[in-house]
Amino acid sequence: MRIVMLLLCFFTTLPLLAAEEILPFADPKQQALFRELTHELRCPKCQNQNIADSNAVVAVDMRKKTYELVQQGQDKAQVIEYMKLRYGDFVHYQPPLQLSTIWLWLLPALLVLGMGVFVVRKNNQQQLLVNEDVSSELDAELQAMIDEATVKPNTGDKPA
């Protein structure tokens, strides 16, 4: 039964693979660039899909355009710029470094820094407490010894 299921899975996935578009590339470098770009460019119609993943009309058009531009020999930055001029910063998964987006870099750094300060301070405090404990223990012991020493002469002197 398991073997039948496995075989079924195996055969049903094959047509899906065959449905992918096949685009001819003369240069494997351009093919790699096309693959990279379609995975980094975001479909403007969908909420969170890259254009390689989406079959929305706009994603298909963007893939075609990316293919065209890559075939023309444009590099990665040029293609991304071309798309951003039309679809805005939303279209690239790497946000640009601006005043409004600076928090994306600053916040994690601040958080780590804050946590570091917190841990160090907590540690120091604990060490202090431990020291106090030890010293008070010693004090008590010392006091007991002193008491013993001072009391003994009074009681010990009497002959039994």
Binding site: P44, K45, V57, V58, D61, L85, R86, Y87, G88, D89
Partner: protein
């Protein structure tokens, strides 16, 4: 001082809650347009009803207008036709940009202009015709250059051909006042 420190987590929690709460009411389709305050891209497209007549960006200049991207295949576009027709009757200039969906040659789909014209005429006959004329963008070239992600979308273009607003989704009596104000400002200039 120590008491203030005690309230920091609470303040952080309130801040985060407010940020996430405001997210509930934001429209994920609105993510800014790269086209606003830029010149309408150059194009040369035929008039949908008179395909021999080619129109360019310069020919649309002269007075402000709305460029409305639509298609008969798009239910939301059909729903806004009646309201847009009312606006036309009030003197608002609206130009249509017809969005042709991709055709799959593997399924024997080919571009059939007479059938499309008939379809458009029938739809505009039923719902009202808000358009001065329609540009036919068979390969979605201008649509791509305008950064259109779907239909309906509307651009407000001033008399010099500069895009002043990019509206995603339908125009209806609720969201019209803001657009109307922007349009009236351009008309008065």
């Amino acid at each position: 001082m120590r008491k203030l420190l005690f309230f920091i987590p609470f303040a952080l929690f309130i801040g985060l809650s407010m940020f996430l709460f405001s997210g509930l009411f934001s429209d994920p389709r609105q993510h800014g347009s790269a086209l606003v305050e830029r010149q309408l891209p150059q194009f040369q497209l035929p008039d949908l009803m008179q395909p021999t007549k080619l129109l360019t960006a310069d020919e649309l200049k002269g007075e402000p207008y709305f460029l409305n991207v639509w298609g008969t295949w798009c239910p939301t576009c059909n729903a806004e036709l009646a309201f847009l027709t009312q606006l036309r009757q009030q003197g608002v200039r609206i130009v249509g940009l017809y969005y042709v969906q991709p055709l799959d040659a593997a399924f024997g789909e080919t571009f059939d202009l007479p059938a499309l014209q008939k379809d458009v005429q029938q739809k505009l006959g039923e719902q009202g015709n808000p358009y001065q004329f329609n540009l036919l963008d068979e390969h979605r070239t201008l649509i791509f250059d305008l950064g259109v992600s779907g239909a309906p979308e509307t651009f407000l273009v001033d008399a010099d051909g500069v895009i002043r607003a990019h509206h995603v989704g339908d125009i209806n009596p609720q969201n019209w006042p803001a657009l109307a104000e922007a349009y009236q400002q351009l008309v008065r200039k």
